[in-house]
Amino acid sequence: MNTMTKLGGVGAFAASALASLPLWAQEAAGPIKAPDAAAMAGMVDKGDTTWMLVSSALVLLMAIPALGLFYGGLVRTKNMLSVLMQVFMIVSIVAVIWVVYGYSVTFTGGGAFIGGFSKMFLAGVSTGTYAATFSNNVYIPEYAFVVFQMTFACITPGLIVGAFAERIKFWPLMLFAVLWVSVVYFPVAHMVWYWAGPDFLSDNVTDAGYLWAMGALDFAGGTVVHINAGIAGLVGCLVIGKRVGFGKENMAPHSLTMTMVGASLLWVGWFGFNAGSNLEANGLTALAFINTFVATAAAALAWVLIEQLRHGRPSLLGAVTGAVAGLVAITPASGFATPMTSIVLGFVAAPACYFFVSYVKSKVRYDDSLDVFGVHCIGGIVGAIATGIVADPSLGGQGWYDYTVFPAVAGTYDMGAQVITQIKAVAITLIWSGGISFILFKGIDMIFGLRPTAEDERQGLDQTSHGESAYNM
């Protein structure tokens, strides 16, 4: 889904050329450069199309109900619906925006930092247009690509709301989400994921997003999704301030059952997120799938072991939090690592996140209600940087491929340089998202106010913001 998946692409190409190319192409001297739509139509495999549609459904599943339940179970009963509502409506609003201008500004050329308006309202997209994958001469229906990318845009701002759950007004938050995707998510996604495609780049080597061109590796969104949302969450909870009664009153999760269901469905859905990011269904897709599975398992285990050592008892909340930390950390690396290096990554990510969630937070005493920063930002950073290591072919990693030549060839891997590049990409994302998010939160707070009255907060947002109760038993 970005430069590191160039490798993915060509790994795929190497692995499944015979299968993925139409016969005439095989009989011919190899792949065709810059095919036209008619030719592309012959380069579509229905197995890929099916995989991308399934993956899109899985990513929606991650947002609703999974993320809603994972977060909602952790708040107090009186705020359950407010969290579910925030996630549900962010998905709905962003989906509409995506069709109107999001897809266009993210996935058309024009600049290194943002695309153009040529595909607003999906102009020019039809059942007869196709999107490139990471393999030469392998295409998928453009609508499948549009909807897959849409699900990413829908869930990312939803991740942020956990940081200031239980104390935010609904409409100002929606406004924030609209502005945030427009000036933070779309540009960052463009920088990391936009490029001309493997059959076209060689003729126009500059036609790519800024970070993509820089060579940053992010298979499924460590920077674009998790660091991006994680830092925005931290900024938000600092601007908004602590919950009434924070540190004094008991704020225990109202239903860890719902949190476990959410975490489990996140795990299941994440396969669409990570393995789907390969844009086709081949051996590399299977690798991304198994890496996602085992890194998560390892991180859950690691978190539980830490709790056993520190408190003498492992908790379910610890297990699922570890699992999510693992999912976040493997996201950028899922298409580059091996199952074994993925396990190591999971074992490393868990303690890092644990340290911020259970130690740093209580020391610094900021009220990141549901640990968006501690899990998503920290886990994302660990994963993004580690990607530079695990991707090294000398560790069995998939390395990277050079699409500036046609057909793409493997590039020579320099771990040190790659790690530097990864760190740069992380820094740029932190600054871009952190800075702009601060401006947005401050601005909205000054103009409309972000926070409900203390009375309303005490009574709970379900009744005061939405006029309902989650349970009437």
Binding site: N250, M251, A252, P253, H311, T321, V357, S362
Partner: protein
């Protein structure tokens, strides 16, 4: 008439109910409560945040009986609810001036 209020361990409820029925008690009101007393609660840790749960779940029984039955009832509860461990509970006796059965309007002892 007297109202006997007792706080007991939840899992003793059925036993106590049976004991009371056998000695002729025909009704009671039971409430799930949080008890606070010598018996200590427990602590829960969520992502490192510790919460002390100072209350212990108990069952609160309210039984209104004729004066004559008070001692029998108190004994019955004491013997069945007792485990000898801290937290067995308490029994309180209070005076009831009037009782009425909604269905029939019967009063006092007839209402029980």
């Amino acid at each position: 008439m007297k109202m006997i209020i007792a706080a007991i361990k939840p899992y003793k409820l059925d036993e106590v109910r049976e004991a009371l029925t056998t000695i002729g008690v025909r009704g009671m009101m039971v409430t799930e409560i949080k008890g606070f007393g010598t018996q200590s609660g427990h602590t829960e840790i969520y992502r490192g945040a510790e919460y002390a749960v100072n209350f212990v779940p108990k069952m609160r029984l309210e039984i209104v009986v004729a004066d004559s039955m008070v001692d029998t009832v108190v004994d019955a509860i004491t013997t069945t609810a007792r485990t000898g461990k801290i937290g067995d509970g308490k029994i309180f006796v209070m005076d009831v001036e009037k009782a009425l059965r909604v269905r029939t309007g019967e009063l006092d002892d007839d209402a029980l």
